[in-house]
Symmetry: C2
């Protein structure tokens, strides 16, 4: 074993997968700021800023705070805090991360009622109507707004309404949606929303910013049993973020600086402008991919702008193509997960990665790489179509 | 609500509390490196480096990896993974963080046997002998090596031996000890060790590097029930860190870069040199504090070098003194926790904060602030004594 590892060396990537996405240089710089303690009054001011900015991006007056764990930690923090053993939880499932949520709830001893629907499609709310009718007394309904594994926008307002009509709490994953498309926590009645900085916010992976309704917090505070996880107990996290700043875990200061800066940048751009940037850039990507003859399996009306699902052409080696795009162009695109493994690609255009130049770069790479693996395309056709689409929009990159 | 929060602004602090401590500029810079994806082969190489360097600093051949949560997350990951409801866990307790561990184990449904001893003193191993004799079939014994709330070094090798003699697994908190004093995971037979980068490693808070023995991993893999937390399941985390890199949570890439750099710097300095730096610098702090007439409650033979416990003099307002040191000198020192709240201070000298100049700075601040709060000291006496002690040592700051 050597004791000389030398300085860190990292290849420069263009991140166009499902996340993390490129972190904006201003956010990277914020993370290199010398830190304060996590019980320092100056740090509490930064936490207050983060909470206030989260209320703006989530469009809520509810309690906002940050779980010191990745997005899956935010997912589990909700389940851990709301579910007591034996509680009935109706869980909408149409993708890999929905299935992860089910696994978590099962571990917590919930009576899990999965409501499964086709991957790559928006869910028919009638399925939830039926499940709730069959399961009176349901405590919690869960759904994912923008399933990162499928690239589909789900009918969240409708699902939330149905949950509330049944008297249940509604918990929503907004990991891939937050600041990339409209998110209205209060108007839609979402009791618990969680997200991550590493998608449309152009921040670092490793945190989970959340919004919790008063009703949801009250549910945690009045449980009969304590949540099995102390680290992911939303009541304890709330007590640290609240005015008393009760000692809990050591806050990840550097990442919080990064998230703070990412939120400030999102608000400087303005949310409507930001949503439009995601929409316009994605339309150019779709035009380019279509010009290359690639199939986009999600119906047009249900597509996410943040993430585009692509059918791997018959006979093409999914992995070999992605690896060559990475090796030759240093561009990361995403593989399929679960039942999409090996037969789907996912291209993300989120946050700082969501730029016109990146659309052209990934299309150009595919134009070169796909023929080498047996899929002929008209070289130049993809970038030409994308460029024509880009010319229709006024896209300013922050 | 305004949409203009402007750029991040953070006061420059000198962190001489219980942690986090000052992050080395080279580590801060590493965190500002543009990121890769967490399934990128280049990132896996960095994870492999981190794991290898952790084996060196932990002095182990066991499996090493990083829990994507703060030190308390590493604590809970162990308990969550090893304990099944009803299991007997004998928990040594002589400080605030030991009590936190007990709270966590109780939530997990363990049959918790606390073995409590005096705060601020090393534990008498006979107490553990008795507890194990009274609780045959104990599955797990827990202890903290260097209790951050008390500044005491505990007799870990002896406690570990007793646990093994009783057939139990031994889990040890090495948050404040790792890379600040000797830590020999294999020689001492520690089955699960966890730590944090934000103490003696001069890294950012928010991660928990761990070492897990094969026996401990086998315990997790052969449980009858699944751990209630998916996020903190050591078997799943191991599957991501292992050769198959099975998809789990999104890895906190920027912080991992920081931890990687912090580990590389610790190895460049050399562990024996680093331990000596902590010892020499602490001896100067103790000389200075003693010259100011302050009482150090921990017996000399049991003191940590990383963290010094100080008795708040009678009639002195703990909080007012700390706040003035922070406001006037931008130096953070620690308050007491639990039964030490209001009557103890804690001064940390860890990692990059462990420097001769910092010893003089904090003593000079105390010489000015303490008299303003009614505790007379000979101005200059503290720094003179510390300087005389520093002159005896050859301390090189990395």
């Amino acid at each position: 074993m050597t004791n000389e590892f030398g300085p860190l060396s990292v290849p420069r990537r263009l991140l166009m997968g499902p996340g993390p996405t490129d972190v904006h240089p201003r956010v990277l710089r914020a993370m290199s700021t010398p830190i304060t303690g996590y019980l320092d009054s100056a740090y509490f001011e930064i936490l207050d800023e983060v909470a206030e900015m989260l209320r703006i991006v989530y469009e809520t007056r509810a309690t906002t705070m940050v779980v010191a764990a990745s997005g899956s930690g935010g997912m589990e923090a909700g389940l851990n805090s709301f579910i007591e053993p034996g509680d009935t939880v109706v869980m909408c499932s149409y993708g890999h991360f929905c299935e992860r949520m089910i696994l978590m709830a099962e571990r917590l001893g919930a009576n899990v009622v999965p409501v499964r629907s086709e991957w790559g499609r928006a869910m028919d709310p009638q399925l939830l109507v039926d499940a709730l009718a069959a399961n009176p007394g349901t405590k919690l309904v869960t759904a994912i707004h923008a399933e990162t594994s499928t690239g589909v926008l789900q009918p969240l307002p409708e699902l939330s309404r149905l949950a509330h009509d049944a008297g249940a709490l509604f918990m929503a994953d907004m990991v891939t949606s937050l600041s990339g498309c409209e998110v209205r926590v209060d108007e839609w009645g979402v009791d618990y929303a969680y997200s991550g900085p590493q998608k449309c916010l152009a921040g670092p992976p490793g945190l989970s910013p959340v919004a919790v309704s008063e009703r949801a917090l009250e549910t945690v505070r009045t449980r009969k049993t304590l949540p099995s996880s102390w680290y992911l107990d939303l009541d304890l996290i709330d007590q640290y973020w609240g005015p008393d700043h009760v000692h809990h875990h050591t806050s990840p200061v550097s990442m919080m600086f990064g998230l703070r800066e990412a939120l400030a940048m999102a608000l400087e751009e303005g949310l409507p402008t930001r949503f439009q940037r995601h929409a316009s850039t994605a339309s150019a990507l779709r035009a380019g991919l279509t010009a290359l003859g690639l199939e986009l399996p999600v119906p047009a009306a249900e597509r996410l702008n943040q993430l585009t699902l692509i059918q791997v052409p018959d006979g093409i080696d999914d992995n070999a193509v992605r690896q060559q795009v990475l090796d030759d162009y240093s561009i990361e695109i995403g593989r399929g997960l679960g039942e999409f493994r090996g037969n789907k690609w996912r291209i993300g255009l989120m946050g700082h990665s969501c730029q016109p130049g990146n659309v052209l770069a990934v299309l150009s790479a595919l134009e070169k790489v796909l023929p080498a693996h047996g899929y002929e395309v008209g070289v130049g056709a993809g970038v030409a179509a994308a460029s024509a689409e880009l010319a229709k929009h006024d896209i300013r990159v922050p």
